[in-house]
Structures are given as C-alpha cells and as structure tokens.
Amino acid sequence: MNLVKPNHYSDALLLQQIEQGCKQSFDILFEKYWAKAYADAYRRLKDPDQAKDIVQEVFTHIWLKRETLHIDNLPAYLNVAIRNKIFKLVEKQKHIHPFFDILEDMPASYSQADDNLLWKEFLICYEALLNTLPPKRQIIFRLHFQEDLPTKDIATQLGITRKTVQNQLGKAIEKIKISLSPLLPLWIIILMAIS
C-alpha cells in the first residue's frame, strides 16, 4: 500500500473505488468535500439543519447511485446537486426564506454593486431575462426593480393609466438603460401626477 495522504487521492480514483463499494474511499471523499458543500448550502439557507440535510442527501445519493452515476467533475457535480436541492427546498418553503432576501433587497444592493463581478454578471442575466418578457410585464418589473414599489401598487397604478401612458412609458423604457436608472423615479412621479 502506498502512504499518500487522503486528500492526495484523485477524485477519479476515489469514485472508481466507491463504484465498487469501497466505504473508506467514500469517507475520504466526504472528508475532502463536506465543508465546502455545507458552507455552500448554508450561504443560501442560513439554517444549520437545512444545510446539514442537503449535504446528507447529496452524499447519500452519491453512494446509493454509485453504480449508475458517472461523475466526471466532482466539484461541479456537487455544486449543481446542491443548487438543485436548494432550489427545490426554497420552492417548497416559498412563503418566507432567507434565500429570497437578495431578491427583495435588489434595488438597494444594486447601487453598491458597481464593482462586484458577481453582481455585474447577474445584472447582465437579469437584463437578458427582462428582454424576453412581454412589454407590459417588462415595465412592471423595471419599475419594481428600480423603485422598490410593491408590484401590486405598480399594477394598480399602471392599471389606472394603462391605456394612456403605457405606450409612452414602454418607448421611454426601451431607451432608458439600467445605468440611467435615476431617471425612472421621474417617470413614476409623472405617472402618479397623471393618474
């Protein structure tokens, strides 16, 4: 037997051993990745019990399905598996969950986000998503995103003035880039004045 330390085993070798039912290899793999998996889950869930459950489920699955799972890149596999579990969990607990906090704080966080790469990437994707929405919905979202108004309020506001203002607003918004967001509150004042 060689004397290489646990962390020096390659994932591929460990997974191969696991596939054949080697519990030791599984424990080595767990030792190597559990902390990152737990931290990743905890970041989103802010709940030790839920984070534990997610890590348990993902690793249990790796063992139980060892003969059929063919994992090429274990860190990537864990990332996706944990992400999907979290999505599932927060979807079920939709009423209140820390996972939605960023969503609700979006306008506030946006201003501080200028030099944060993650935020930049996120905003690009958000913009791309908005562009796929029907125009009416886009307006509502943009107002909400920049103004932090409850969607209901915007809907009622737009509902009242929908016929008259919507087209203008739609056109205007096409031209207003997110980077020019300070202009948007003006539009809302105009909207409110009209209604």
């Binding site: 984070a51 459950d53 249990t60 969503l103 979202f141």
Partner: protein
Amino acid sequence: MDKQYFLELLHKYLNDKATDVEQQFLIKYYDLFLTEPDVIALLSDEQKEKLKKEINASIWQNIDAASAPGKKVLTINTRFLKIAAAAVLIGFCATIFLVLRTQPERKPVQPVAARKQKPDLFILLADGSKVILSYGSKLSYPSSFNGRTKREVYLQGEAFFDIKHIDSKPFVVHTGKLETTVLGTAFNVKDIPGDKTITVTVTRGRVKVSDNNKVLGIIIPNQQITYDKVQLNATQNRINASLYTTWAEKDDLYFEDVTVEAAARLLEARRKVKIEFADELVKSKRFTATFDKSESLDKELKIICEFNDATYSYDKEKTTITIKSKPQTNQTSNL
C-alpha cells in the same frame, strides 16, 4: 423583482422547462450568495469535527436505511432527529422512526419512495370538522364534544380549520391568550412559537377574534387579524386569503386512522373533483397513509382503494369518481 415571478421561474427550472436565459438568471442569482461568509471558517476545529461526524453518521444511517431489504429510500431529517434526541439516542430513535413510518402497528402505511417533505396531519374532529395541522404544530381536542356548550380546541403552531356549522355550539380555537370563535367556517390560525404575532385568516364565513374576553374584531373572507403577542394589540388587514392557506393544500399530508369518507372529502377539496360511494361499507373503513403533494390523483385513489379492498372508476366526463368495495365483500352496489 417580483417574488411570484421568481417562484414561477424556479418551478419551471425544476421541471426542466426553463429557457436558457431563465436558467442563467437563476444560476447567477444563486451565485450572488458566494459573497456571503463561509460559515465553516467561523467554526472552531472542535465544532467543525463535531459537525462533520454528525453529518457523516447521518449519511451512513440514511444509506443503511435505504439499503435494508424491502425498504424504499427515505432520508432522515435533521430537524426530526433533534426532537428525537431529547428522548433517546439519535440513531436509535431515527431507526424506530423509520420502522414506525414504514410499518405501523394498526394499518399499513403507504410505501412512498424518497418522501423528503414533512407531512401535515389531517384530523377529523368528532363533530365532522376538518383540521389540517401544519407539521410540528400541536392541537389538543376532546374525543367528543357531547355534553359541552362549546367546541373548544387548543392550538400551538399553525392549522387550517374547516368547521362544521352547529348553531348551538360555537367552535373556539385557543391560541395563547387569543380566542377565535366561529359557528361554521373555514379559516387559518398561525401562532409559531418565537414569532411576535398570531394571525387569523378567513376563507369562508365569519370569525370573531378576542383576547381575554375583549373582542378584537369580527372578520370575513379575505380579512386577517394580526395580534401582537408583546404589545397585546391587534390590527386588521385586507388580504388574499388563498396566499395564507395554500400550505394546507400543497404540502404532503398525513392521514392517521381516518375513514375513507373523510379522506375522500379532503381529496375533493384539494383536487377539485367529486367522489361518490357505491356502497356504505367502504365509507367507514379506516386507514393511515401519507400523500406526497407531487403524487397524482390516481395514485392517491389507488392507495385508498388498495388499503380498503375497494376499486374506483371515473364517469364518462371524468368529473366524478366512484369508489366501491371489491366484489368478494358484501356489497350493495347500485352502479
């Protein structure tokens, strides 16, 4: 960003229906959390070691439980384990839990694979009122309301009530200092320990909420009273009641020793179908089962029928379902 829309996206994503753009958005949203601190780094070596051992032990327990012959995959839940640990050793209790869940003494339990969500408990009270008790909540109620002037129950946590109308006997839910009095109606009461407030939400009928005999308000559908447990005052709002009661329709549901008829009534409400009985015999049979929210109506009907020696059939329009006893039992079928 609208939460409702975000949940729609999540739902689409989980059902493999999200577009690339939608997927990317969700993934990038998820990645935003990378700026949150690494909780492991904040733990001491001892705490880390303890946590690691706990998780590892649970994994092997899950694996053993899943690999045992004849058992389907079930995962042990940390929250449940915590409760169990108070009484007995964690591992021992978890095993018992699994055994109980899969092989109850009285009636067979539906062998659901990989049921991870905690089920709500469906309770049929002696007067025919229905209660869906949220997981972890407690309800104390008498086995019979006979000889009492009021129908009184005591709630800790959250429950949805659908109360049978009896003019002469008001139904009272006690939640801490708060009393919710009704004659016959459907409403939701939420009093989570640790929360500062108790909320009462009405979906049907009229509900009176009072505090030490002082009436705080009488509310009707789509109204809600929020009672501040600290300041002892109440506020009344207009709301969309369905938002507060969807949990009762959507969560997994645990039926404990209920009659087939009671289960059918609940299924009617949840699934928007009509269920009839071809004979009386099957109606009063009792069973215990868990229904996963993701299961189809057919699966649920099949479970009910299998446990109670019955069969079910749809009418031509597929709007009414008829349940009848299997031929070998005595039946008075009028199909």
